[in-house]
Symmetry: none
Subunit: 455 residues, 2 copies
């Protein structure tokens, strides 16, 4: 293994020049004008998979941009099989005028390489490919079986990935999925994300009178839909931040003592957190820390509200309708369907006289969690410790990565989220960057991950 | 007098075509883009005052839209002097898509004319001008002295009228003010309004974090300004409709037993009321009837609310800001300034941690009441009985006509509110309409009012 790590150490310059080549291709998946470039990027990835020594490399068509596949089944029947997933498509670049350097002319300044896709996700894809390459160049074989899929539609919500996974279940059969597309907790703070929240996103329409009324003539004998909506929203949570929807917490997997200890170990700076948001408090469900609340407890937030007169000045209208978008972040073992039904039942229960309700289930996503003592997690923890010289933090994330749930439900495999981004990486924003030290450490971690998985 | 009434009867078609001309001018006083049209409307009114035979007609400038003045002092020193007040400006028209016919293309369907301003207040202004015209055309003189002011800022709270009244106290000296800007209790139910509610109209801006956040990453440790605003709104009233602002009821003049008996005599049909609004209840402050609540008790209504994502679909934003327009209807002896201060103090008191508040006092109007045995009231009661063939009801009204209070305090004259609108007239809403039978009866009542005032 030390030979492999030396190989990696001595190839840094080459990695950086290959990364620049990858980053120069403007593979903006949402932009039809860039379809040619996105296709060219898929071809570049296919060539790269062949270059590093993968077999059976294919550009596999979907209804949208293709998935690039490659494999190396050196490990044999008894060895673990890892499916590495990444994406070669990138976000749009506007507002272009806020970029210091052109987004598709990768520029190294200090420890960072700046370019669209540098961290999300081309840099992290390439580091994993370089990890495989190192094994194959030095020892001629992978210690376990490896399959690779690099898709081209992650930035538009992976609309064709579920079908691709279902259609190619046998080809993609694996024990562990490896994804490098998340940030670390901080620089020199290696972390492994093992849990993601799900989502249940509802829209409510509250109707009072059948038309807008004069608030002077009618005020006092008509239910006002805005007031009614406000009262109903106020009844969704109590003063301690507990969600009051009947049965809401029934299926919530509670945080274990181990998890709470792990989170407590993290250098979360509450003061810096609220200062950055220019607020004076970080309230939430009583009895839990900020990280616990943002990562591992279900929450409820209004995402939008509107109704009545919203222009300049004073219009004395008692409106007919008011609307709100209300979403709930879910944790294992809740499901969006279950929560949507409970939300609807509760909202109807607290509805006052004088109004009618229309409730729409706009969108849902399953929560996900990977067992922290799985083989994949253990291999990743060990790899991070070997490279960074410290035990990685075990973290969760408050957002959703819908493909992780697809891997669980379609392929039946847990996902290891071993990411090397940083919180200030500007993913999706101008001046996206990847820390090159993290890139090179990532190559080593990838190489060690496969070694650690060997039985 | 019978000749005058015949003249009115035979000029209906002309009145309607003149009304259409008046209604075609989009004199939306709150909209700077309509300043040209609002000015054109003032000029139209001045021309009309000359056409009907008034003297000393002037477009009198203010800091905002002008007041149009005219007079006819035929009655001499010993006769009563009536000041007729109306307004030529109208409310905005949004939501435009709910109008069946364009708001400034007056359309007669059945007995109604549909247009913005048809009943509030252009239709009622024109009927009073036609009443004066009938006297002058038939007998060449008015039975009493008449002064007319038609202003252009009623729908934005008449910000310059008090100064105008003060600056022109001598010119406007009068015994009685006549206003036609209120609805009748119902069709064929003539009524005279002796009390109006005041208004205190506030806007609140609630700020949580300094920028829009991802609701997945941050949900659980940041105060959401929409949720916070909803909770604060829910704390403005209790479950029995009582307003919870500290000291809110301190100065409220209670309803007398006589008033409650008068109101109880009125044929208010609760079932028809809620059926018309297509709702199932007419909730409000416990212990009071609908009419008492709408006319003589203070109320609180949200007039508008907005914040976060209000477009199509599901955007998972935890917004930085949320806003609401919240107004309170006041009764004698409350004042807008007093209530604005109490609202602000209370809202700050119930503000949760993690948000900042900005509260703006957008607009205020004093409540008002007129003695029911004044000369003007007696002349109006008689006129209504003569035209409708029945004794009018004595009512109050839930809306505000802040200028009524100005007439009392600045000119020292009581105001007679002889209105000819109807409860379903859609003032301030799409498809505003005026019943044309009421329009023509209004012309006759106006003519008789002056006659009845003659000593």
């Amino acid at each position: 293994m030390s030979e492999i790590l030396s190989f990696i150490e001595s190839n840094k310059d080459r990695y950086e020049s290959e990364l620049k080549e990858f980053l120069r291709i403007p593979s903006i998946s949402t932009s039809p004008e860039h379809n040619g470039e996105t296709r060219r990027c898929a071809e570049w990835v296919a060539d790269e998979l062949k270059r590093i020594g993968l077999n059976n490399v294919q550009i596999m068509e979907t209804a949208g941009h293709p998935v690039v596949y490659g494999e190396r089944l050196d490990g044999g029947k008894d060895a673990a099989t890892v499916l590495f997933y990444g994406h070669y498509d990138v976000q749009p670049v506007d507002p272009l005028n806020l970029w210091t350097n052109p987004p598709f002319e990768p520029t190294i300044i200090g420890d960072n390489i700046y370019a669209r896709g540098s961290v999300d996700d081309k840099g992290q894809v390439l580091m994993q490919l370089k990890a495989i390459e190192a094994h194959l160049r030095v020892s001629g074989a992978m210690p376990v079986n490896v399959k690779v899929i690099i898709e081209g539609e992650e930035e538009i919500g992976s609309p064709n990935l579920d079908k691709f996974l279902s259609d190619n279940k046998a080809l993609l059969k694996c024990d562990t999925v490896l994804v490098s597309d998340t940030p670390m907790f901080g620089y020199d703070q290696p972390s492994l994300c093992y849990g993601l929240r799900g989502l249940c996103y509802m829209q409510v329409e509250v109707t009072g009178p059948n038309r807008d009324l004069h608030s002077g003539f009618f005020g006092g004998a008509v239910e006002n839909p805005i007031n009614a909506l406000a009262v109903m929203i106020s009844k969704l949570k109590d003063e301690n931040g507990l969600i009051l929807i009947d049965g809401f917490y029934d299926n919530v997997t509670p945080l274990s003592e181990i998890e709470r200890k792990e989170f407590a170990r993290l250098p979360f700076d509450q003061k810096a957190f609220i200062n950055d948001l220019e607020t004076d408090a970080s309230p939430g469900e009583e009895g839990y820390t900020e990280l616990e609340r943002m990562w591992a407890r279900p929450t409820l937030d209004c995402n939008g509200i509107w109704g009545g007169f919203t222009g300049e000045g004073a219009k004395t209208v008692l409106p007919s309708k008011a609307y709100a978008k209300i979403s709930m972040r879910l944790v294992p073992n809740q499901t969006p369907d279950e929560i949507a039904k409970k939300f609807e039942a509760y909202f109807n229960k607290i509805k006052p006289a004088g109004i009618t309700l229309k409730i729409i289930d706009l969108h849902g996503g399953m929560p996900a969690a990977t067992p922290i003592d799985s083989d994949g997690m253990n291999a990743a923890r060990k790899a991070l410790k070997q490279v960074f010289g410290k035990e990685p933090f075990l973290t969760r994330e408050g957002g959703s990565i819908p493909i992780v749930n697809s891997f669980t439900t379609i392929l039946g495999a847990p996902t290891v989220l071993m990411g090397f981004g940083l919180p200030d990486q500007n993913a999706h924003s101008p001046n996206e960057k990847m820390n090159l030290n993290n890139f090179h450490r990532g190559v080593k971690c990838g190489a060690l991950f496969y070694e650690n998985l060997k039985k």
